[in-house]
């Protein structure tokens, strides 16, 4: 294996997921590295002209090349190279001259009984991916390889052992994959899920893949180990397969970490092995151990020539890269004057509402309030076509006290549904601006009606005062039909109490 150099960035310390032993009191941390296989969204397969699409009748998207018929030869699809580089560059990898190798093992779903894959000289090396929480996860490599066909075991138990017969569909054989090998910089099951979310966003943004975990176009294996907090060396890892959803991924990592801690605490050791996640049982089960692992006898694929994309090609890929999620978060956070790790910023980018938010802020809307609405009030269809100027106007009315938070939410919902301006909607709904003297008048009236409660509010302890505050606010809201601003009510009450004291 070619050395690919070390990351200069150590992962930023995010939230660690730790397990504290009841017996020894030792605290353990999880170390996770993810390997992701994803199908590239090319029109045709990796080495032939067969269509690359999901769901066709079995063995209809096949030809002599992807069936590995004697005498057939592979020809590299240049669009695969383009998409692989796009992904690689989006992950801040270096594009290197690369070669294809054969990974030799017998399996009926593999037409040639070897898989063509990049082994010791992959196309993309040494990049990183920044998680929304600020953690930088290193990317060791992202290389090109071919997918296999699919076996179906019929009759008997439906598993390979005991099946009456097996069928093989080679439609998927030769579909282009990129395998993205992440470094073990993940410390929490939630971070693992965030990594996949972020990677998926990048795959979609670059057009490299449709990244559908449920259709198998994105497959995740997790390398999980544990170590005592403070230990510098990595523990023995297990590779967890069969993770078909983000939920499975998180559960499997947590289960596996606890299993390993239990083993180590009871004086046993972790065996390096492949384990399969059983979603129904909520546990991992042993697969092949390293000792039994096959010898794949890798050697350079003699039917293909080395791949050396020109500097011009790489530059063209760079120039055409879309703005990626991390940069979108940074832009929005800067415009709003908040930290890029804030949930509202992450959510805005996830929902593709960051350009709306940026435009609203640009049109004079208060950044914080814009983000609050995006996070809480705009998870609705059509939100992205909201007029940014109207959005900014709404936020400005709110800041000026012309609308309460509750009113603003109602107006925003109408704006999305009707496209009308906020002042027009507020007028229709009868949301009158309530000035301070009006509110003071109402509050003074209520105080006069309830002298007993007012006296207790002014003189009682904190607990009592808290209760009575609710009593007065409720009365004010009732009197104003909910149109009073809660904060303003509290402010007036506080001012009157101070004057009384």
């Amino acid at each position: 294996m070619t050395a690919v150099g070390n990351l200069t960035h150590e992962p930023v310390e995010g939230d660690r997921f730790t397990i504290t032993s009841e017996g020894t009191g030792d605290t353990w941390e999880i170390v996770v590295g993810l390997e992701v296989h994803c199908e590239l969204a090319t029109a045709t397969k990796l080495f032939c002209g067969c269509p690359n699409h999901f769901g066709a009748e079995p063995n209809t998207n096949v030809c002599p090349v992807c069936l590995g018929l004697p005498g057939s030869l592979p020809v590299l699809n240049q669009n695969v190279v383009e998409l692989a580089m796009r992904l690689g560059r989006a992950l801040h990898c270096t594009v290197e001259p690369s070669v294809f190798a054969r990974k030799n093992y017998f399996y009926p779903d593999m037409p040639k009984d070897y898989q063509v894959s990049q082994y010791d000289q992959p196309i993309n090396v040494d990049g990183w991916l920044d998680l929304p929480d600020g953690t930088r996860v290193g990317i060791e490599r992202a290389h090109i390889e071919e997918d296999t066909g699919k076996n179906t075991h019929a009759g008997g138990s439906g598993r390979i052992h005991g099946a009456d017969y097996s069928l093989v569909d080679y439609n998927r054989a030769g579909v282009p994959l990129v395998e993205i090998v992440g470094r073990p910089h993940i410390r929490h099951p939630e971070q693992a899920k965030a990594y996949i979310d972020e990677l998926r966003a990048i795959l979609l943004a670059t057009g490299a893949s449709d990244a559908k975990m449920e259709e198998g176009s994105l497959r995740v294996d997790a390398n999980v180990s544990v170590r005592r907090v403070g230990d510098a060396t990595l523990g023995t890892r297990c590779e967890i397969k069969n993770l078909n959803s983000l939920r499975s991924l998180g559960r499997a990592i947590e289960y596996e970490a606890r299993r390993q801690v239990d083993l180590l605490e009871s004086g046993e050791r972790v065996h390096q092995e492949t384990r399969h996640w059983d979603e129904a049982a909520g546990r991992t089960r042993p697969g092949r151990s390293k000792e039994e692992a096959e010898d794949y006898r890798y050697f350079q694929e003699p039917d293909l020539v080395p791949l050396e994309p020109s500097a011009e090609w790489v530059a063209a890929v760079d120039a055409a890269l879309p703005v990626l999620p991390a940069e979108r978060r940074a832009r929005l956070a800067e415009a709003a004057g908040v930290d890029p790790t804030e949930t509202a910023v992450v959510v805005a980018v996830q929902r593709d509402l960051d350009s709306l938010a940026l435009a609203a802020i640009g049109a004079g809307g208060d950044g914080r309030r814009v983000l609050t609405h995006v996070e809480h009030n705009l998870a609705v269809e059509g939100a992205e076509s909201l007029d940014p100027a109207h959005f900014a106007q709404l936020v400005t009315m709110e800041v000026a006290g012309q609308l309460t938070a509750t009113q603003a939410k109602a107006v925003l919902t109408d704006m999305v549904a009707t496209g009308k301006a906020p002042d027009a909607i507020a007028a229709e709904r009868g949301f009158e601006a309530m000035d301070t003297s009006q509110l003071e008048g109402i509050i003074d009236g209520i105080i006069a009606e309830s002298p007993q409660e007012w006296a207790e509010f002014c003189g009682g302890d904190d607990k009592r005062r808290g209760k009575l505050q609710g009593f007065f606010v409720g009365k004010v809201m009732k009197a104003t039909k909910g149109q009073a601003d809660g904060k303003a009510v509290n402010a007036v009450l506080e001012a009157r109490r101070a004057a009384a004291g």
Partner: protein, 483 residues
């Protein structure tokens, strides 16, 4: 009129309308019918298909169209070249019943040039061997002496031409599989530069070494056939992106001033004295024609055989993995898939193929890769370097093609090392990816043909063919025993 016998003459006569392709093809089918029972050059004779193809050529001539440079020329195809709808066996039981759904690029190009495929020729199973004794369908006999082997692995293609069953044929050469049988049968055999001829549709033995090339009785015919099949093919990623070279037009240019080096490593120990004598005689003939002759050392060539018997089996072990009984060919049923794979491969492959799969698997195994396959790759690099150094001083190199003349059946088949030594002169050029060809030059002391080998740098075919034409002109009669 008597029918022309060379491809060049046949094509000219057919294109001119002087003879019909049908007459030519019928005559060759009759020769096969009469003679192949004792030679066994063919696994399959395509009589009906050939007659139909000949009729189509004749129809074109009648319509005033040009059927192409190989109009009506019967061609025999080594049975590891895929032919659409026609069994392609590699002389192995493992491909039992398999009919490729496509034609090899060379097969397509031959048909496009007006040639007529008359049959599929016998070979050592999967092209592994030097005597055609490793065929699952029985050995091919040497037409010059039926008690002797024709060489291999393209023994059927060499014998077919030597016996007059076809004026030209195609074979494949991984370590000498065209040149060695050409030498043993007394015909011309050419291994082109790696990448000059598309490998698409050639059932792979060792992908980085395999090249398709022609057999013929005249240098001009090999030039004609090679021109027709050479040139870039987008279906083969290792195909050189350049037009096919002009060969026929340069044959009469002579060798005046060409520098030809006699490879000293391939003239000493292990080379029969009569064979070495014929090579020196060939060098003298070239000198007489105006070439400058010198001696040259290619030191790494001595390690070629060892490197080859790691690299070729390593690639073969992977290339032949697909014969697993799942998709095509032989299947021996068994309770589990793995047992079915094993039973199928045990029954389907012959001893030599199994030997090489085991050698190659071992050479690539974890813990052995560096010592065997990895080291062999380094030797390969050294061989290329040594040849490059030699070609700084010489335009062409000269050596024997095979250390001996044709041997008798059974003489070496049980001694793999002795058999492997047959390829000692031919293997280095495969490792370098360079062109080389064997030209008959009289006979050895036993009266059997001797071939001399011309070697050229990559894409040096034109120069190589000029020298071959000069040797052809000066060659002693094939029957003339060395004394």
């Amino acid at each position: 009129m008597t029918l022309p016998t060379t491809a060049t003459a046949i094509a000219a006569a057919v294109r001119a309308g002087e003879v019909s392709a049908r007459e030519v093809v019928d005559a060759h089918l009759a020769a096969i019918e009469a003679g192949d029972a004792s030679i066994n050059a063919f696994n399959l004779v395509l009589a009906d298909e050939a007659r139909a193809a000949a009729a189509a050529v004749d129809a074109k001539v009648a319509a005033g169209e040009d059927p192409g440079p190989l109009a009506g020329v019967p061609v025999a195809l080594k049975d590891n070249l895929c032919t659409r709808g026609v069994p392609t066996t590699c002389s192995s039981r493992i491909l039992d019943g398999w009919r490729p759904p496509y034609d090899a690029t060379v097969v397509e190009r031959l048909a496009g040039a007006g040639a007529v495929a008359v049959g599929k020729t016998n070979l050592d199973e999967f092209a592994m061997g030097s005597s055609t004794e490793n065929s699952a369908f029985g050995p091919t006999r040497n037409p010059r002496d039926p008690e002797r082997v024709p060489g291999g692995s393209s023994g059927g293609s060499a014998a077919a031409v030597a016996a007059g069953f076809a004026p030209v044929s195609l074979g494949s050469d991984t370590g000498g599989s065209i040149r060695q049988p050409a030498a043993l049968c007394g015909v011309i055999g050419v291994k082109p530069t790696y990448g000059l001829v598309s490998r698409y549709g050639l059932v792979a033995f060792a992908s980085s070494l395999d090249q398709i090339g022609p057999f013929s009785t005249t240098v001009a015919d090999s030039a004609l056939l090679l021109e027709a099949v050479a040139g870039h093919d987008p279906l083969d990623s290792t195909s050189i992106d350049a037009p096919a070279p002009s060969l026929v037009d340069v044959l009469d240019r002579g060798v005046d001033g060409l520098r030809v080096g006699l490879v000293s490593e391939l003239m000493g120990e292990g080379i029969a004295p009569d064979v070495a004598g014929r090579v020196r005689q060939a060098a003298d003939a070239l000198a007489a024609a105006g070439a400058e002759i010198g001696e040259v050392s290619v030191p790494a060539a001595s390690y070629g055989l060892s490197a080859y018997y790691l690299i070729a089996p390593a690639e073969a072990s992977s290339n032949l993995a697909r014969y697993d009984g799942v998709r095509y060919g032989l299947r021996v049923d068994a309770p589990t898939t793995a047992e079915m794979n094993a039973a199928t491969r045990t029954a389907g492959f012959g001893a030599e193929v199994k030997r090489r799969i085991m050698l190659g698997t071992y050479a690539l195994s974890a813990g052995y890769y560096d010592a065997y396959y990895g080291k062999a790759l380094k030797v390969r690099t050294l061989i290329v370097r040594d040849f490059e150094a030699a070609y700084e001083r010489f335009d062409l190199l000269l050596s024997p093609t095979s250390p001996t003349t044709a041997f008798r059946f059974g003489e070496k088949v049980d001694d793999p090392l002795a058999m492997y030594l047959n390829d000692v002169c031919t293997i280095p050029t495969n490792l370098a990816g360079h062109p080389a060809m064997s030209v008959p030059f009289g006979a050895g002391a036993d009266g059997m043909p001797v071939g001399v080998q011309l070697l050229a740098p990559a894409l040096g075919e034109a120069t190589m063919f000029r020298a071959a034409a000069a040797l052809e002109a000066a060659a002693p009669p094939l029957e003339e025993a060395w004394s």
